[in-house]
């Protein structure tokens, strides 16, 4: 039971975590990415198409990441070079990509909503010898695919990148103070574009995870608002990778729980609020704790 919940929670967390880590880098670089969902959707479709007919999954992932990156670059250029509002462009992108996907399904496959193709290659899941059979630990570490592991490896990697590398410093400078950064010879707009492309790449992978990591079919609603949940996760984490990951995990965990509570006579309406309600509760607790800490510091001063 507990193993199943943990395993399911990690599966529900992976796409949100990938997109959130991308959005985090993007935000540190100075762009609040509302279009993560659109990038996930294009990644999901392209990844799915490449994986169909016994396609290669590494190729499918590469294509999905590329599709997300291209979508992100288009959005980023409109914001950085044409001076458009990032919120408006991001929202618009979500609508445009959803429309294009629907049009493509209709014109090319003569179908609407759901696209099923024969012989879709799924992301392989690997059992780790020695760990797979252990309770709890087995569910946490074993039986996952490369994207789940990658998303968690990216958490400390992102911490290290932002705090310890020259590129990370430049990214932070470009985001926090584009004027002085330019005076120092950096190109803040280009840096911002690169951070968008990175966010798009990870979001494209997140989309592919949904299409070929979880279900093996494509549906125009497959992203189901996860781009916005990713946005909530890095806001929740205030741009800190570990806290962002906790936000994504919190969501995945309560999603897995709500699925299982429903079968047990708890009213569906209440249970479905759980993931969202818990995020609010935790945000409140974090804010209260932060305020307490701040007050204590005052006293000692």
């Amino acid at each position: 039971m507990i193993d199943n919940i943990i395993h399911s929670a990690l599966i529900m967390t992976t796409p949100v975590l990938l997109a959130a880590l991308g959005g985090l880098i993007n935000r540190v670089g100075g762009l609040v990415n509302i279009g993560l969902g659109a990038m996930m959707l294009s990644g999901a479709l392209v990844g799915f198409l490449v994986a169909a007919d016994d396609g290669s999954w590494p190729l499918a992932l590469a294509a999905a990441g590329l599709a997300g990156a291209v979508t992100a670059l288009a959005m980023s250029l409109i914001v950085t070079r044409l001076g458009a509002d990032e919120i408006i462009v991001g929202l618009g992108l979500n609508i445009v990509v959803a429309g294009l996907v629907r049009f493509f399904l209709k014109s090319h496959f003569h179908t609407s909503g759901t696209l099923g193709l024969p012989a879709v290659t799924m992301l392989p899941r690997y059992d780790l010898p020695g760990i797979a059979d252990l309770p709890v630990l087995g569910a946490i570490f074993s039986g996952h695919d490369i994207l789940t592991w990658m998303s968690w490896v990216l958490v400390p990697a992102t911490v290290w990148f932002l705090a310890r590398t020259r590129a990370g410093l430049r990214l932070r400078a470009a985001g926090a103070a584009p004027g002085p950064a330019r005076a120092l010879g950096l190109a803040p707009l280009a840096i911002r574009d690169i951070s968008s492309v990175y966010a798009g790449f990870l979001s494209g992978l997140a989309g592919a995870y949904l299409a070929i990591g979880v279900v093996g079919i494509f549906n125009e609603g497959i992203v189901a608002g996860r781009g916005f949940i990713a946005l909530a996760a890095f806001y929740f984490g205030r741009n800190r990778p570990v806290a962002t990951a906790m936000g994504a995990l919190l969501f995945g965990f309560f999603d897995a729980i709500q699925i299982r509570l429903q079968g047990r006579g708890v009213p569906a309406e209440l249970v479905q609020m759980l993931p969202y309600a818990m995020v609010i509760v935790f945000l409140t607790l974090v804010a209260v704790a932060a305020r307490r800490r701040a007050q204590k510091v005052d006293v000692h001063d």
Binding site: N4, S112, G221, A224, A256, I259, G263, A268
Partner: protein
């Protein structure tokens, strides 16, 4: 024609001559499900009634509801069947201004003298699905079936329209085996297959081996989960058996084509169907189970016979299946 009708002394019914129109819903023609199915029935009805007719498609079906309905009404159609669910309210308004035009709307009741409402008795088809599932779930001779009498159902949202299916399913399951435990869950989303996959997986982990979905695109994930776990899903609306051959036990089919065909035919015969509600259940062949092309050989003949017997009982009125929309919620589904 009219002269012939009156000469023969046919009273009241005057054969219609004006052409008929079919307004296509969101998704458009070519969706391989709802719209295409309805259009097939529309064509059959026209042919049988010897009428002319055409389909009306629009880029923006929902927002332009009034416009589409008025344009069709001005175009001298005698019958306008509208497949778009959201056109119910606009239709009430437009129908008032065109008292000589007959309108048809699906899956809802709109009260006006020139609107015919079409309802499906989804609970009847779902009853058969539940009966079949509960009979199969304890038969361990079938591949992928465990001995526990547990089955599941996943609805797209908690509403009377969806619970109508679910209540029928539970009633059918309890009729087959009163000890059957039916796990009920709602996805709250009709287009999230990843969620559907996880929900079905959770049900399979709790011992269910057959899960019925009433959840549109989310249900695609339920079928994928059944395939991956070597268990069974039950499809809905269209014949979904072929999506994962052998993993979809059956599908509860809604014959939109039969309904539209019958409405067109009744109009063609000049029947006064305006202001009435036409119900399509097992009896009218408006709902029913799929032919089980891929699973029929897996299921013991005795179980199939039991399902057929229940179908006959419902058609003959010996079994009355609970209708949540009309009767409210039964005790077993609160």
């Amino acid at each position: 024609m009219m002269a012939l009708a009156s000469a023969l002394g046919v009273t009241g019914a005057q054969a219609a001559e004006k052409p008929a129109a079919l307004i296509i819903a969101q998704g458009g023609l070519g969706d391989q499900s709802y719209n295409d199915l309805a259009n097939a029935g529309f064509k059959r009805g026209l042919e049988a009634a010897g009428l002319k007719g055409r389909t009306v498609e629009s880029k923006d079906v929902v927002a332009q509801a009034n416009d589409i309905l008025r344009r069709a009404s001005d175009a001298e159609f005698g019958l306008i069947v509208d497949l778009e669910y959201s056109h119910g309210t606009p239709m009430l308004e437009v129908a008032k201004d065109y008292p000589n035009t007959l309108y048809g709307i699906l899956n809802q009741v709109r009260k006006a003298p020139n609107i015919v409402s079409v309802l499906f008795q989804e609970q009847e088809g779902s009853y058969l699905a539940g009966l079949l599932a509960a009979s199969v779930t304890t038969d361990t001779s079938i591949k992928g079936i465990n001995p526990e009498p547990i089955i599941g159902v996943i609805g797209g949202t908690k509403s009377a329209g969806i619970d109508k299916f679910i209540a029928g399913y539970i009633a059918g399951a309890k009729a087959a085996n009163p000890n059957t435990q039916v796990l009920v869950a709602y996805s709250n989303n009709f287009a999230d297959p990843a969620l559907g996959q996880q929900m079905a997986k959770a049900m399979f982990e709790s011992g269910a081996d057959i899960v019925y979905h009433v959840a549109g695109g989310t249900g695609m994930g339920v079928i994928q989960a059944a395939k991956a776990a070597g268990r069974y899903a039950i499809g809905v609306d269209a014949d979904q058996d072929g999506i994962a051959p052998g993993s979809v036990l059956t599908s509860m089919i809604k014959r939109t084509d039969v309904a539209v065909e019958n409405v067109v035919k009744a109009y063609g015969r000049g029947e006064k169907i305006g202001g009435t509600t036409m119900a399509f259940g097992l009896k009218e062949n408006g709902v029913g189970l799929s032919e089980m092309k891929y699973t029929k050989t897996l299921i013991p003949a005795a179980i199939l016979a039991k399902v057929e017997a229940a179908k006959a009982d419902i058609i003959e009125g010996r079994i009355k299946v609970w209708n949540v929309v009309e009767q409210g919620y039964p005790d077993y589904l609160k």
